[in-house]
């Protein structure tokens, strides 16, 4: 699946998007896998309360299923308007 990062999450991880091969069945499992990869992921995902997640461009939560998901995005709380 494609994993996208925005704003300071993108800066901490150092790239805007990447392909991730994962068997994670929920967003939380995917986060755990990413955190185990390298320190920059650990840093970016250290406080999940400061993050939001969208699966296939719909806002959701960290318990959400990744069944059939093509795109997962992580970002800080939005500041539109």
């Amino acid at each position: 699946m494609d994993v996208l990062y925005f704003a300071w999450v993108r800066e901490r991880i150092g790239l805007p998007r990447e392909k991730v091969e994962s068997d994670a069945s929920t967003v939380a499992e995917l986060v755990a896998e990413l955190r185990g990869r390298e320190e920059r992921y650990e840093v970016a995902f250290s406080d999940l309360s400061a993050l939001r997640v969208a699966v296939d461009q719909e806002l959701t939560d960290f318990d959400a299923s990744l069944q059939g998901a093509r795109e997962v995005a992580f970002f800080p709380p939005m500041t539109g308007g």
Binding site: L4, P77, M78, G81
Partner: protein, 147 residues
């Protein structure tokens, strides 16, 4: 209903006139425009707005559809910019048309509350002292509970 996400500036007067012309006597039109504000402590050189192409348009459309249903709008317009903006530049506008002014005002207020916290935009302030991401405010999230 029209939802536009663009980098280039928009012409507020022309957009408002065009929206009003399309309205054929709905009774009340309200517009709100968000403008890049200068900072109190250090002069703002620019504000950079990042967004999530694809999700942004989808989220804005969903918010606009909700506003139409909830406030019985005759029409709605949302324009939101991204990219590098200087102080005083227009960031975004909403226009609402309804049979009565209260619905038009409330719908514009509702749209703004949802745009702030549910549309995937992120603002970054650039000053002579450095750059920083604008943090979301708790009060913006709390504002959604009004609806």
């Amino acid at each position: 209903m029209r939802v536009v996400v663009q980098e280039e500036p928009f012409d507020l007067a022309a957009e408002t006139a065009r929206f009003a012309e399309g309205e054929g006597g709905s009774g009340a039109i309200v517009t709100f425009t968000g403008v890049v504000r200068n900072l109190d402590d250090a002069p703002l050189e620019a504000m950079e707005i990042e967004h999530y192409p694809g999700m942004t348009e989808k989220a804005l459309r969903e918010i606009a559809v909700q506003a139409v249903a909830r406030f019985d709008l005759q029409d709605v317009l949302v324009i939101h910019r991204y990219g590098r903006l200087i102080p005083g530049a227009q960031i975004m506008m909403v226009a609402t048309a309804a049979r009565h002014r209260r619905s038009a005002f409330d719908a514009a207020d509702f749209l703004m509350d949802y745009l702030k916290s549910r549309a995937p935009f992120w603002k970054r302030e650039i000053t002579a002292k450095g750059e920083s991401w604008v943090a979301a405010k708790d009060e913006d999230e709390a504002a959604l509970e009004r609806w």
